[in-house]
Symmetry: C2
Subunit: 438 residues, 2 copies
Amino acid sequence: MKNNSAVPEPSLDLLERAEAVKVASISLGQTSCSQRQSALEGMANALRNRFADIVSANLIDLKRSESEGLSKSLLARLKLGETKLEGSIEGLLQVAKLPDPLGSRQMHRELDDGLILERITVPLGVVGVIFEARPDALIQIASLAIRSGNGALLKGGSEAKCTNEIIMKALQEGLRTSDVNPDALSLLTTRKESLGLLKLDGLVDLIIPRGSNELVRFIQDNTLIPVLGHADGVCHLYIDSSVDIDQALSLAIDSKTQYPAACNAIETLLIHEKIASTFLQKAIPAFDKVGVNLKGDELSHSLGVEDIAIESDWSTEYLDMTLSVKVVPSVENAIQHIRRYGSRHTEAIATNDKDIAEIFLRSVDSAGVYHNCSTRFADGFRYGFGAEVGISTQTLPPRGPVGLEGLVTYRYLLRGKGHIVEDYSSGARTFSHKELPL
Amino acid sequence: MKNNSAVPEPSLDLLERAEAVKVASISLGQTSCSQRQSALEGMANALRNRFADIVSANLIDLKRSESEGLSKSLLARLKLGETKLEGSIEGLLQVAKLPDPLGSRQMHRELDDGLILERITVPLGVVGVIFEARPDALIQIASLAIRSGNGALLKGGSEAKCTNEIIMKALQEGLRTSDVNPDALSLLTTRKESLGLLKLDGLVDLIIPRGSNELVRFIQDNTLIPVLGHADGVCHLYIDSSVDIDQALSLAIDSKTQYPAACNAIETLLIHEKIASTFLQKAIPAFDKVGVNLKGDELSHSLGVEDIAIESDWSTEYLDMTLSVKVVPSVENAIQHIRRYGSRHTEAIATNDKDIAEIFLRSVDSAGVYHNCSTRFADGFRYGFGAEVGISTQTLPPRGPVGLEGLVTYRYLLRGKGHIVEDYSSGARTFSHKELPL
């Protein structure tokens, strides 16, 4: 798998820059909380000093991208006007105030008299982040990386080239006023560099792709470096037979329409057959009113859903105002459908029956499983994490919305007084394994 | 990377068996702690019922392997006599008594009035374990999998074929007397099946290879499934200038010789130049006495180390009674050497200087970093985890010796009363983010 022709070897220049980030990350990882907070304040000051330059550079990117025919929605994401930039700087200062993710003692145990084990959180090292269009993502990700003591290689969209370059210049100017080596951040600008990044195992500890499903899947399939992210968000809402119909409909509409392009929006509505007729009678005109196009299985079609869903609909992440609908005979059947077609992101049940809800919460193995609330709550800010690195649908932790904890790992420290294992093997000494206060 | 010709597609039979394990794992994941404990007791009883059969089957494996020329050390690992088998059964019953890794609430937070977030530990699903020679590993791994609510596909060494088959038969007989579906465990017997396992992404959630470095590296390079393990254990002991020479020598000898084939044994000794002459004067005859062959850099050679180390020695895991020796001018230099040649497993410093020790503990980014104790302590049992799944040298958690926690993940459960995100987006409602008792 290592010899994938789709991914070229990294250039010497990229290797040297990644080495520089790695070296800078080593001292960054040993800075105190307040040193990293000051670094973020320096970054905020430098962004303020460069405020007008950034807005101007963004206008150049916007003009060029418009003439190149970039879509309206992408232009909106690319735009970094004064309000959005000020918001980003405020966000950066919020990250400075988040609790320090480093140096936290997760374990403290006496193994024997004078032999003390600790488990302490430490930075990952270097993260590689690939993001598209939005240049404010650069500010957010750089602040999360520095706050958590990690170096970062950052690759933005080519549309935002000028904006990203001036932002990175400012961020490094800011770091220069602090105890953090500005080499800790490096901007990648070409597609070749972002491909080269995938081969930097040994120098890069985690890749965070923030972009299209295709981008994420390509990265997951083409690197030996761990990837934090999710390719698909095929989320479900199951409407049980014992349900408050108005509440269920409100949940369905919010889960679908509150931001249909989000990964935590639902793509499929599963409805218990006992309630299907009553529910759809109300739901069909309601969805029509807010502009949602329904695609139903045979049963829901017979109950008034106009368009027909085909097999591929059940695994499609529409990311727009389309919703597939299926009538199921039981909660078990809904769970089986989710297991077969879902992407283990977030699923919800609407029911008044607590026992049925608990069956659903216990049986559905997605990162988030909800009862009587919208799937759109699957988000780091809404969970109270302060800032979000991304959402992971992998089985292993970190899973679901990931805050700063996704950028740290831990290290075991063991302090002794000449303790050797032979003494325990021979029976001369025995372990005490006594918990000490954290 | 997906189309690797070294790894064939799984056979239909393997797919069907893996599906059966997956299905069984779903209900297993919902069993109570006491149901899983009873299942382990059933497994222990069944092993006792089959005690004589297992010992006889092992004799057949031993006889065949001996005639096929298996090495003495591998024959010793293959042997499962009455004492070792009884020990394994005792170990299984110990695993039954470990604290339940499932259903633990890691987070409990009110997001708003009536909207409650929980984070609960859940099983991974299905684990694939590849182990060599030792048939008792099958008992240990099966017990860890069932205790943590996971299904398991288990591939043992072909030398232990008869022993593994009768053990698996007994384990399934034991499960049949419990609430756990015996399909949760399945034995793979051919090399083709173990290769097919690597392609079971979607059905298998974690692969744990317990074998040679080559085996682990091959697996890491050839699967999209997360791998828990380590390819190399190039561990270091650094002897600082301010040191108790006798204690340092005792640490060096224990770290090298207590079990030289272990991954946590040291391969390289780094010695501060100020102490090198005094230390080596005592160390050379001491190592000679216990049968350790030293290979030195130029400086240590000039101080009496007979054999010369070449560049490749610094990254070699000897796994036997050979130790490379290098004289360094400072702790920083020792740290640089470790960063360059180490495998981020376990490194130790011997010093009386607390400040130097803290520099080392803070700067070396290995899963375990020790002060004045043997690297051989890097082990789940010695850390007090009760049982060990393996040792991970990856950056991301779980890292270092991994107990049952490596076999669980978590799920976010959110319970509301019809809460929708639009209300928070419009400002009609705001989040409270209030911590609740765990």
